[in-house]
């Protein structure tokens, strides 16, 4: 049998998962992750680094939308196809504001979607974690702790014994 991908422990309650995670971290485990059926905010501090990149991407996308949207209107009506309306300035910027705003939002929403997909590593239809036993319950009613096999402290037998202490409903190896 080849080396496993890692080990999962299922918990009925998020509090138990968090307690197990804390103990593993205290032991020095590093390659940890958790799969939950909803966003458990307490897990963020333990597992996911706070990253300002996503909001920044959305802001930059919105700024790009504002610039592109305004330039499109300015170029179209003041440079490429100037139409004199009652002697008013060709760069009639107040009339360009509503569409510029709409373009800003469109670009920002598209930026948010793309930044989210990139940050979440999606789309990726198959992921090794899908081989874990009963992992489908992580999108329903189980809170699943995962320890990757490439963790320097990974030792299946010791880890299994260690995890049993937190009262999981299932501890299993994830085949590679």
């Amino acid at each position: 049998m080849t080396a496993p991908y890692g080990m999962v422990a299922h918990f009925e309650r998020p509090e138990a998962l968090i307690a197990a995670l804390r103990r593993l971290k205290a032991e020095g485990y590093e390659r940890l992750d958790a799969y939950s059926p909803y966003h458990v905010e307490a897990l963020d501090a333990l597992l996911a680094r706070r990253s300002p990149v996503l909001p920044l991407v959305v802001f930059l996308a919105g700024a790009a939308g504002a610039l592109c949207g305004f330039f499109l209107q300015y170029y179209g009506l003041a440079v490429a196809y100037p139409v004199n309306v009652g002697g008013r300035p060709l760069n009639s910027w107040p009339a360009f504001v509503p569409s510029t705003y709409e373009f800003t939002v469109l670009f920002a929403v598209a930026g948010a979607l793309i930044a989210f997909l990139a940050a979440a590593r999606l789309p990726r239809l198959y992921h090794p974690i899908f081989a874990a036993p009963e992992i489908e319950r992580a999108t329903a009613d189980r809170f699943v702790l995962f320890v990757a096999a490439d963790d320097p402290r990974f030792d299946p037998d010791r880890l299994r014994e260690f995890l049993e202490g937190d009262g999981p409903s299932l501890v299993a190896e994830v085949p590679r």
Binding site: H39, S92, E102, L106, L113, F116, P123, I129, T139, A140
Partner: protein
């Protein structure tokens, strides 16, 4: 009975994570397709068929088959457009605005409301195009480099409207789909048939629910909500500017942008009551859509009705305050003249009848809610009709005054467009998770933790 009618509950305490997951996902995955679904499908396909025939006739013969004339060049198509885009407003309001205010009652209802938005916007989108007459030139609205060397008139409110609608539809689809991703993953994991696993598997994009994914999901969704909430206000303000930008008596008013926003939100809450109350019973969703949801929606409807009442009062007052004879003519013709019948039915349906919702017992009466909601949907169509037709048929020169009489094809287009909403909703109900399951789970867990402490 006090417990069953407890308005403080947004979710029934007996629900569990397992139970709510199974209940909502089984509607799409396991439950037998109910008989009413098939019956409604036949109705929807019938209406859609009528729309296809009406459009084919229109494309073959031209807009002469409608009742439009000069001066009433904007007939039912534009009234329908404004009506449909207004009906679309509520989904975005419920899902983005009430997400930002952290209203817990939003979670069970926002998916349905957003779906309503999508298909109402689709029905709205076809109206200005078919109204063009030479609809095959509609792509000229897009700013693309062309050999004619022309560009669209970006300064026109009508073009702002095109840009706003385009951005709004794209934004709504993205917001709807992204918000559904974790729930589609639930369906993927619970699907038993191979076809279901492949279908939901591809739609879910491989969502795993890892902490990293949840965190970026939350941030992105919050930002999208913050972007969509003001967008919906801008969309309806711009629809109002379509009219306010013209000099026509009755249109040339600075109050039109907020007036249209109020009307849009009122009409979509009305439509949402018509859809939500029966679906709640048909799918036995009483545990997740509680009395509190209906009570809140009824109060919101009442609030919007008061806002629109203010707009109507101002609309009636301003012509006489300004004293412009053309504006007075239009106002008198609407209130006491040829349009008096529909003017007063608009007041009754949109302002008078919703005042019944002040009475708590009626806010809990589901039949009353559906009837008031349906009344508002009809009343708002009348309002849109009156804005378009009631001003144009009394334009500046009395010599051009002409009545507008809708033809069979006008009505067929309106009825047929309802088929778009019905068919879209039916497919959604059959195939996708109709409530936001992952947020319901969070709600259940928060209640449990509070009970534990």
């Amino acid at each position: 009975m006090a417990a069953a009618n407890d308005l403080s509950r947004v979710i029934e305490p007996r629900l569990t994570l397992t139970g709510v997951t199974a209940q909502i996902s089984d509607i799409a995955l396991r439950d037998r397709t109910p008989l009413w679904w098939w019956v409604t499908l036949v109705v929807a396909l019938g209406l859609l068929g009528l729309l296809v025939v009406a459009l084919a006739r229109l494309f073959f013969a031209g807009i002469g088959i409608w009742g439009v004339n000069i001066p009433v060049a904007w007939g039912l198509a534009i009234a329908n457009y404004v009506w449909w885009i207004g009906l679309a407003a509520g989904g975005t309001i419920i899902s983005s605005l009430f997400f930002l205010t952290r209203s817990e009652w939003r979670n069970a209802t926002n998916r349905l409301a957003e779906t309503m938005t999508l298909f109402c916007a689709a029905a709205a989108g076809i109206m200005p195009i078919i109204h063009l007459g030479r609809w095959w030139y509609s792509y000229w609205l897009f700013p693309y480099p062309n050999v004619m060397g022309t560009w669209p008139q970006f300064r026109s409110p009508l073009h702002w409207d095109f840009v706003a609608l385009f951005c709004y539809v794209i934004g709504s689809i993205v917001f709807w789909y992204m918000g559904m991703l974790p729930d589609v993953a639930t369906l993927r994991d619970r699907a038993q048939s191979r076809a279901g696993q492949v279908f939901y598997g591809i739609l879910a994009l491989g969502w795993q629910g890892s902490t990293r994914q949840w965190r970026s999901f939350r941030t992105a969704y919050l930002l999208m909500a913050a972007l969509m909430a003001p967008l919906i206000i801008s969309v309806h303000s711009i629809v109002g500017l379509d009219f306010a930008g013209g000099l026509t008596p009755g249109w040339h008013s600075t109050q039109l942008p907020p007036y249209f926003v109020f009307g849009a939100v009122l009409s979509s809450f009305g439509l949402f009551l018509v859809l939500l109350v029966p679906l709640r019973t048909l799918y036995r969703l009483e545990d997740v859509i509680t009395e509190r949801h209906l009570d809140v929606l009824a109060k919101l409807t009442l609030t919007c009705s008061l806002l629109i009442a203010y707009a109507y009062a101002l609309e009636a007052f301003m012509p006489f305050y300004s004293g412009k004879p053309e504006d007075v003519t239009v106002a008198l013709n609407q209130i006491f003249g040829t349009h008096a019948g529909i003017y007063w039915s608009k007041i009754v349906l949109n302002v008078a009848v919703p005042q019944l919702l002040w009475i708590p017992a009626l806010r809990r009466n589901r039949t009353v809610l559906v009837l008031i909601g349906a009344g508002i949907v009809v009343g708002m169509w009348i309002e849109r009709y009156l804005i378009v037709v009631g001003s144009l048929d009394r334009a500046f020169l009395p010599s051009v005054w002409q009545e507008f009489v809708p033809t069979f094809w006008d009505w067929a287009t309106l009825a047929g467009s309802v088929g778009i909403l019905l068919l879209g909703l039916l497919l959604f109900l059959r195939l996708l998770p109709i409530a936001t399951i992952f947020e319901l789970r969070q709600l259940i867990e928060e209640r449990r933790k509070a009970a534990d402490e």
